[in-house]
Symmetry: C2
Subunit: 203 residues, 2 copies
DNA sequence: ATAGAAAACGGACCATGGTCCGTTTCGTCC
DNA sequence: GGACGAAACGGACCATGGTCCGTTTTCTAT
């Protein structure tokens, strides 16, 4: 029988060859280890290739660029946080009223972003934008805003709420301006309150 | 007389040697030309050095890095816009009521940022942050907010209003999400209205 | 004008991200 | 199991940003 695809199931992207999958995994492990040990900056692609026992070309075929590789590492690091967001205890996880969830989200996201700051920077555009991670976060904020009865262009309002949490802006506020973290967080809550408007609880 | 500094006037940074000044100017001219002709991406530091008729080391001593050089070019490009902001006709320039000035600022800044997008990206941290250009913009927004009677942490609110105008966020909205420019601008005005609150004119 | 120190110069050199292409491995079909 | 095409491999190679250090220019003081 030449038609092996009996059931046209989910026609996703073509499957990965076994050696390819093995190398991807080896590279991710090696990259995580090196990043943890030496810091993102000090990790070279040659080093990752060597540590994984593959050629340099393979690294780039799998991950396109250093940004791509770092984005993959970052994605792994953020998984635990995403789990807490979706299934963890309130107020970050489901169960608390939306405003409390939003405030908890703000603080938690701020801390997580700072924790992974180097990785996020190194992942560049491949990291924040377009990755599943970002979509999830944006969707979550849109959902909370809707839940709070906010009217208007929700996708844009969500973006406006997320923009001040981006690394370049945080760097500016914390390092250039010298604002303490608590002030930045308080500012974010204030912004959220103004965006949410009447639907926010009285202070 | 060994004390040449008769009048201690403005003790600014030590003056620049004549050859240094000449080379800085030559480099800026060369860089501007090459950037305009070939686009930021295609311009190499070697090419700039050659075009300016100086050694490569000189380029890096003057501007630290490619980012630094691009920041300098950008600064020059933004000068005209700054002049319009400070001294041009209303509603962008002085003379119009603060809310009208704020809205005009939003549109104009959005357009200018997109116009210089490549340069801003290439200037990286050296470009937006810390440069005089950014300080001026932030100060202007703080001023308008104060003028509108906004209460709260003005520096943070100004940041919140500027953050969605940063290149990474705009890229996301225009390219990934595919929003048209007008929608983005409308969203920004809406955000501004929510931040300003009661002090904004009724729609 | 001259000497001497400080600053700037220039281009060979280095590090590293990314590409290319001849060779090897994998999966499939008979 | 063997043959064959497709995909993956690996490491030499390239491009380019950035550094280093011996040489040259500028500035100041006498």
């Amino acid at each position: 029988m030449s038609e092996h695809q009996l059931l046209p199931l989910l026609t996703g992207p073509p499957p990965e060859r076994r050696d390819a999958a093995r190398n991807r995994e080896a590279l991710l492990v090696a990259a995580r280890e090196l990043v943890e040990r030496d810091g993102v900056q000090a990790v070279t692609m040659d080093a990752v290739a060597a540590a994984a026992g593959v050629g340099k070309g393979t690294v780039f075929r799998r991950f396109r660029s250093k940004e791509g590789l770092m984005a993959a590492v970052l994605d792994h690091s953020e998984t635990e946080w995403q789990r807490l967001l979706l299934f963890g205890p309130p107020p970050l996880g489901p169960g608390a009223p939306p405003w409390e969830r939003l405030v908890a989200f703000g603080r938690s996201r701020l801390e997580t972003t700072l924790l992974h700051a180097d990785l996020i920077r190194a992942a560049g555009a491949a990291g924040t934008r377009s990755s599943a991670a970002y979509s999830l976060v944006a969707m979550h904020v849109r959902y909370l805003l809707a839940e709070l009865g906010v009217t208007g262009d929700l996708p844009l309002l969500a973006t406006a709420l997320l923009a001040p949490m981006e690394i370049p802006i945080l760097d500016q506020q914390l390092h250039n301006d010298g604002f303490p973290i608590d002030r930045v967080h308080a500012g974010w809550v204030d912004l959220a309150r103004r965006i949410v408007g009447d639907a926010a609880p009285p202070r």
